[in-house]
């Protein structure tokens, strides 16, 4: 690989690491996984999210607590993502649609905004050093349709969430159902 190829490869790796870090934070928040959220930030990082301003450990505690107080479920969805890298510093903008099911089990609040991050690479690892969250729009909707049984597995706020299962596999009852349909068994 030529030197220019190497630097192009490194750019792609850096972009992927930065996006993975943003995604990891969203996943951590949605699973209330404190360690996962913390892993997205440098220990001395500062976060400003709405009225909140504090360091990373304070943010982790605040975000889980405030979500638990007002919501039954939430998803933090990243859409457009950009990052400009200059040596060991990067500035990223990640569009976000935060969708929350309030604890009245009826109100859905959708907030569109952007996370503006200053990333720093320390010891080869890209993490957030400073984050400011901007809210651009918000709407409300009626989410009571979710109270009807939909037959789906629902997310949880702990390690029993299906996303942690390794390897991912069908449970016994569904495998039985598959067999009953007369097809050869797998898994």
């Amino acid at each position: 690989m030529t030197e220019s190829n190497e630097s192009e490869l490194q750019l792609l790796l850096d972009r992927q690491d930065i996006l993975d870090c943003v995604s990891r934070c969203c996943r951590g928040i949605d699973r209330h996984d404190a360690a996962l959220i913390a892993s997205a930030f440098h220990p001395d990082a500062v976060v400003n999210d709405g009225d909140f301003v504090g360091d990373a450990p304070e943010f982790v505690e605040w975000v889980n607590k405030s979500n638990a107080e007002i919501n039954l479920a939430h998803t933090h969805n990243i859409t457009c993502h950009f990052a400009e890298i200059d040596g060991d510093i990067a500035y990223a903008e990640s569009y976000q649609m935060q969708i929350c099911r309030r604890n009245d089990a009826a109100t859905i609040v959708v907030t569109g905004g952007r996370m503006i991050d200053r990333f720093e690479r320390r010891n080869g690892e890209w993490k957030v050093a400073l984050r400011r969250v901007i809210s651009d729009w918000r709407f409300q909707a009626d989410g009571s349709v979710y109270n009807l049984p939909d037959g789906y597995v629902h997310g949880t706020w702990d390690k029993s969430d299906l996303s942690y299962q390794r390897p991912l596999q069908l449970p016994a009852n569904l495998l039985q159902e598959l067999e009953a349909k007369g097809k050869p068994r797998s898994d």
């Binding site: 939430h74 969805n77 859905i108 789906y152 969430d161």
Partner: protein, 189 residues
Amino acid sequence: MPETSSSKLQTLLDRQAIRDCIYRYARAVDRHDEELIATVFHADAVDNHGAFVGRVPHFIEWVNGLHEARCISHSHNITCHSCEISGGVAHAESYICWVLGLVDGRTVHFGSGRYLDRLERRNGEWRIAVRRVVTELRFNTDAVAFEASERSAHGTWDRNDPSYQGRLRLPARLQQDRMAAGGSGSPAI
């Protein structure tokens, strides 16, 4: 063992192939493209969507049937995606926002959840071996009717959809309109 440039490059290629597979699923169901849906899964794959569990042929029939019965339009939007690769097996989590324009013409149904996939690389190709769908929330809201004019691009549930047009071109009529308005008339556009 320290990673070589070659293995780092392979990881990036694998990550892209896996993302492409999952995006292709969204595109395939949104176009009701049976052949394309099949390319996302291994032949012996299993899919669990709520009360549905089945192998690929049953899944294709079920998902297209459901969308045809309930919707006049839909889009499946992948948002956050994370993936762990270990040898020839990958576990991916892809956030999904599915938006359905319902047949009543008055309601849009919006759901948010996650596709949990175990993918396997067989003969160099990453495809889904097991998929389970988790839901977090749903809501209904009022559809706003929009009149798609003759000039608008229309989405369709078949290969007439503009996304299949290899070298994307303006339709002749719109090209004529541009030229009449003093446009460059470049045939490549």
